[in-house]
Symmetry: C2
Subunit: 322 residues, 2 copies
């Protein structure tokens, strides 16, 4: 990074070196936990926010083992209501209650979850110091379900034995980067900076139009992450996730158990890799491994035959994406 | 063990060396899990049966990590309905369902547990291949709640913020041990052995009465185990647990947090030791440690000042009792 770019980064409130998104694996096993893997639980960190994706039993235990701080975790996305994706929610909420959490918690999940959990929350956590707000989602429909200033999250309808969706996390288009020296040189007032960041040209007092391209640099590419679990092989999702930087895709089985994968509506490692290839994903992470395959290297080997940039999920592993 | 005793042991279907009761610690933390301790979960093995006592979140995960086989686990006892003692039940049952368990599961717990869990079991585990049978207990009353041929279990009313009881596991008085050589020497028929084991004398054809003491040896002392968690200091339980071989007693706090112990109706390590001393327990195991005390050796040191034969519970530790 040259000197000017670095100065601009500072002006734009960003330290380029620090721009990192992270995925923390709390559990990447499938329905039955194993000695190595707990049921599903992932925390995505984007733009200094934390999103919990699925919450199988033991998520809070693993968080504590990792000394994982959840101070910016306000939002939970539950892909479907199989136990290995949601049985850890009650314990997590209960513990946050005992720790006097104050920030409200927003849970995006199939509508049945609130009906099932609310009586237990009322019984076990009657006096907690924050609200648990359920947002019912329809896993069969592709829709934007969450949005804030910089991020939006959409459902990705998947193929599974119960209503299930993945989630596409997208950073909203970023503002252009101001070239600080130009702003100073042209005596552009501070109030005008936002419109220039938004792409406007600048007209000097003398009436000379300075094109935006001379005042700014293009914005950093917006980060996109897709989470697809649990699902049978479903190429129909490819257009929606096209070009994602990172794709997490389930790989419950190996090709030798392809029939089981089809029967239970899960994917093989090879199928996950095929989706990554078709979607032109930057990177593929596979997880949700069946307890029937003790040597997880096999998943990796199989996927690599189709798609090179693939890594295995692993409980307590943290992936960083620059 | 001399030759005759060993022969008798074999005749009685027992290998003395193998007579062991076990306590497996699946989690001995308190309400909030820590890097070291999961919430409560214990399996007591007595007379080749397994009893699960409390089932906090992560019990099934730890079982799998330990490769712990539950083939003889038909019965669960839940001391009270705080989450750290029961949030793991749903996941455990669900997993057993997926593993096609056939043996029914009997759960002894406060009546509210069935009301809370049943809708979730119906939703998440509609097709499981075994029955889950709830047996409501009244934690405020001392009563025998479980009984089979060789073991009985009673509630121990405790002092806690919600209705809570401990459990006293008692081996029923054993039959006397037959002296094999005597049976052969006196030509005593096989059908008469049970009554001799029960203490009867034997009368020969010639009318000579052989006192039972010449035909048998005294039975092995029946094993007794008491589980007391969660509870404030409650010496009133001592008469019921007098002389137990092993006492598990909670020790959430150290004496320096005695006020917290009193306020939240938990015990200090010293108080646990006092109960063991008064009850003349053979051994004390302390657990349910607060996350506020990272150096658990302190619990041990404090308890040892009062009662010598004390050990710390530890996640994944197995205690064997001869």
């Amino acid at each position: 990074m040259d000197y000017q770019t670095r100065r601009v980064a500072v002006l734009n409130g960003l330290h380029y070196q620090d721009v990192r998104n992270k995925l923390t694996i709390l559990g990447c096993g499938s329905a039955i936990p194993t000695a190595k893997n707990n049921p599903s639980g992932y925390v995505l960190e984007m733009n200094d926010k934390q999103f919990l994706i699925d919450c199988g039993e033991g998520v809070q235990n693993t968080m504590r083992q990792m000394m994982f701080r959840t101070t910016r975790l306000y939002t939970v996305f539950i892909s479907h209501l199989h136990g290995d994706h949601c049985f850890g929610l009650l314990g997590l909420i209960s513990t946050w209650g005992m720790m006097n959490r104050t920030q409200d918690l927003h849970i995006y999940a199939h509508k049945d979850l609130e009906r099932l959990l609310r009586p237990l929350l009322d019984y076990h956590c009657p006096d907690i110091s924050f609200q648990v707000i359920f947002h019912p989602i329809d896993p069969k429909k592709k829709a934007v379900i969450f949005e804030d200033r910089t991020i939006q999250v959409s459902t990705i309808p998947l193929r599974h034995s119960v209503p299930t969706c993945g989630f596409l996390f997208e950073e909203k288009p970023r503002r252009r980067h101001i070239i600080n020296d130009k702003i100073i040189e042209l005596h552009i007032p501070y109030f005008a900076v936002p419109s220039i960041q938004a792409g406007k040209d600048w007209t000097t007092k003398e009436g000379v139009v300075i094109p935006n391209g001379e005042l700014t640099l293009p914005p950093r590419k917006s980060f996109r992450f897709a989470y697809c679990s649990d699902t049978g092989y479903k190429p129909a999702i490819v257009p929606q996730i096209k070009g994602v930087d990172v794709l997490f895709h389930e790989a419950t089985y190996l090709e030798e158990f392809k029939e089981s994968a089809a029967r239970y509506q899960h994917s093989t490692a090879k199928q996950a890799a095929k989706i990554a290839l078709k979607a032109e994903a930057g990177k593929l992470i596979i997880g949700h491994f069946s307890a029937r395959v003790p040597q997880q290297q096999q998943f990796l080997d199989e996927a690599k035959e189709v798609f090179e940039n693939v890594e295995l999920a692993e409980d307590r592993k943290v992936f960083e994406f620059k």
